[in-house]
């Protein structure tokens, strides 16, 4: 049958190992000191799209919004099997909160035009908001299934998916078009294919504002891309007022780095008397029964 899929991905600073030199003295994050990575759950979203394509056929277009350097993650998507990739980049997008981000992505998705499923990672590790997916779905006026842990059934008009809910899971069925947010539990992302790495390792971006060529959706798999499309505010027909900082209702008032609250730690010697004294003290205060 063949499904048209759009995947949104993001390049993020690696927050797993934030060393102290990554924090500036004023408590803000020195992004430059952090390596950038493919947002982990976005890789799961791409993998889920690839699995759907393996199952029923189809085409996968990946979009990322970010600085020019974000083409790295798009190249990675091509290595793993995406059919087409688009970078949305413009100074006017800078400072976007989730609302402004989802607005820009919506404009790009509408420029692409035809789709059955939009897949997003559940959340990005730099913000942990999990808001862009549902906001994109609302702006597109389509249904959503969040926190997807498995795709069950697929037909040419609907999908059945399992989603994690607090303390368990549920199985939800939705007609197309639908947006899914995919969790790390859903799959194990495949590695880049050596053949595709050879094919695309030098591919670069090129600004283009032609209307999106939908015919690629039906073109054969061997129609290799020659460049990565780069779109800006004008080419996706976005209202600059709704982009970036001006389209973002939330403002950061204050940032504090997390410092240990220096409490008065009482050192207890590791011997029977000291430990017994501690236990008795806690008993006297009714902390221990």
């Amino acid at each position: 049958m063949g499904l048209n899929m759009i995947v949104t991905v993001k390049q993020v600073p690696d927050t797993h190992d934030v060393a102290s030199d990554a924090m500036k003295p004023d408590g803000t994050v020195n992004r430059a000191a952090l390596p950038t990575i493919f947002n982990p759950e976005d890789l799961n979203a791409l993998e889920e799209a690839l699995k759907i394509k393996d199952r029923v056929g189809g085409k996968i277009t990946v979009i990322t919004m970010g600085p020019p350097k974000a083409v790295d993650v798009l190249r990675d998507c091509l290595f793993r099997g995406a059919d087409d990739v688009v970078l949305i980049s413009d100074r006017k997008f800078a400072g976007a909160d989730t609302l402004a981000t989802s607005y820009a992505l919506k404009c790009a998705v509408e420029k692409i035009g035809k789709y059955d499923i939009v897949l997003c990672g559940r959340q990005a590790i730099d913000g942990d908001t999990a808001q862009v997916g549902p906001q994109l779905a609302e702006k597109l006026g389509i249904n959503q299934i969040t926190c997807v842990t498995a795709v069950k059934e697929l037909s040419d008009s609907f999908i059945t998916a399992q989603r994690a809910v607090d303390g368990g899971h549920e199985i939800v069925k939705s007609k197309f078009p639908v947006l899914l947010t995919v969790t790390a539990e859903a799959n194990e992302p495949r590695s880049p294919s050596a053949k595709k790495v050879m094919m695309y390792k030098n591919i670069d971006k090129k600004t283009t504002d032609e209307s999106y060529d939908e015919t690629y959706m039906t073109a054969g798999d061997n129609a290799a891309l020659t460049f990565i499309k780069e779109w800006n505010v004008d080419s996706i027909k976005a209202d600059p007022e709704q982009c970036g900082l001006s389209g973002s209702p939330t403002k950061v008032k204050k940032i504090q780095s997390v410092v240990l609250t220096a409490s008065n730690t009482k050192q207890i010697q590791n011997n029977e008397q000291s430990i017994a004294a501690l236990i008795n003290e806690l008993r006297a205060e009714h902390i221990l029964g």
């Binding site: 600073p13 906001q135 303390g167 069925k173 997390v258 609250t261 220096a262 730690t265 501690l278």
Partner: protein, 336 residues
């Protein structure tokens, strides 16, 4: 009374009002008393009216009730549209959702449609002021949350769009004791949904009982990777049993498969604030501390005197778990 009401989105768990919703009602009550306003709620479901007086006991004065067979289970589009309708009709000043799977599913759709700000997974809320250029916004919601993998704490405001909306982490806000004398006004509402809005069909719901109730426990004894060998883990469990506590764990310990996810304490697990927290072989990385730093008393047991956990512990014991825990158990039993 001001008209800056605080509205709470009510969630249900197996037919009962979820704890997080009661936590939010109590938090909303605090915010409302600073604003001189009232707490309202929006409750969506099927045959749920009898559950609502409980909201009143915790300080909610009015609830907007939507009942329909098709609303028995949570689905994104109908729930989001109803919340939007309610906000448009009653103009709350602040709207709070639990940072649960469904709260975080519905809140962004609502914020997107209303084009207002939304802050995810807040751990603290305050009323304060903020200025942009020459304009001072008074009495606005300060939304405080960890960001960047827990390495920073950000205060977010959205003064130019009303309502201010936030999802709030479960277990962080306290439930104050109910007052059975308080009453609630139940306002029956008719939704404006059409058949096309019911886009999802829930085919199956599986909810396991939690394997442990960390949030409600007075004493939590937690195992980290320093207690990963079988003997040490057995000692941690024995200590918990002896003192009448429950067993918690760090994330890598849970990842190693010996305990279910329900036992995980921390930023991506449960937030606890017991009377006593005993950290056994836990280094005390920021993501772990985020879930236990507000415990009344903290005992840290770690062989590394420089482990960050000692920075927030009230009592520190440097040494091997295998020596220390048996001494604690012995001391405790001696007194009985």
């Amino acid at each position: 009374m001001s008209d800056k009401n605080v509205m709470v989105f009510i969630e249900y768990n197996n037919g009962k009002i979820a704890d997080v919703s009661l936590e939010l009602i109590c938090e909303a009550k605090k915010l409302a008393s600073k604003l001189g306003s009232a707490v309202t709620a929006v409750a969506i479901g099927d045959k749920i009216a009898t559950s609502l007086p409980l909201l009143g006991y915790h300080g909610c004065s009015k609830v907007f009730l939507y009942e329909d067979k098709r609303l028995a289970n949570f689905t994104s589009v109908p729930y989001a549209k109803i919340v939007v309708e309610t906000i448009k009709k009653y103009n709350p000043y602040i709207v709070l959702f639990g940072a649960t799977t469904n709260g975080r599913d519905v809140a962004p759709r609502v914020a997107s449609e209303l084009k207002c700000g939304l802050t995810a997974d807040c751990t603290d809320l305050q009323i304060g002021e903020h200025d942009i250029k020459d304009k001072v916004y008074k009495d606005i919601l300060l939304q405080i949350r960890p960001a960047f993998g827990g390495n920073i704490i950000a205060t977010i405001v959205s003064p130019e769009s009303i309502p201010s909306m936030a999802t709030v982490r479960e277990g962080v806000m306290k439930i104050s004791p109910p007052n059975m004398e308080l009453t609630i006004e139940i306002v029956k509402e008719e939704h404006q949904l059409s058949a096309d809005d019911f886009m999802s069909e829930v085919l199956e719901i599986v909810r396991k009982e939690r394997s442990v109730n960390l949030k409600g426990a007075a004493i939590v004894v937690s195992a980290g990777m320093g207690a990963a060998d079988e003997d040490s883990f057995a000692l941690v469990k024995e200590l918990a049993k002896t003192v009448g506590g429950v067993v918690g764990a760090s994330r890598p310990f849970v990842d190693s498969g010996r305990l279910e996810r329900d036992h995980q304490v921390g930023q991506t697990g449960t937030t606890v604030r017991p009377n006593l927290y005993i950290a056994c072989g836990i280094s005390g990385q920021i993501q772990h501390r985020a879930g236990m730093a507000e415990s009344k008393r903290i005992i840290a047991i770690n062989s590394d005197p420089n482990a960050p956990i000692f920075g927030i512990a009230h009592y520190g014991i440097v040494g091997d778990i295998k020596e220390i825990i048996p001494r604690m158990i012995k001391a405790y039993k001696n007194k009985l």
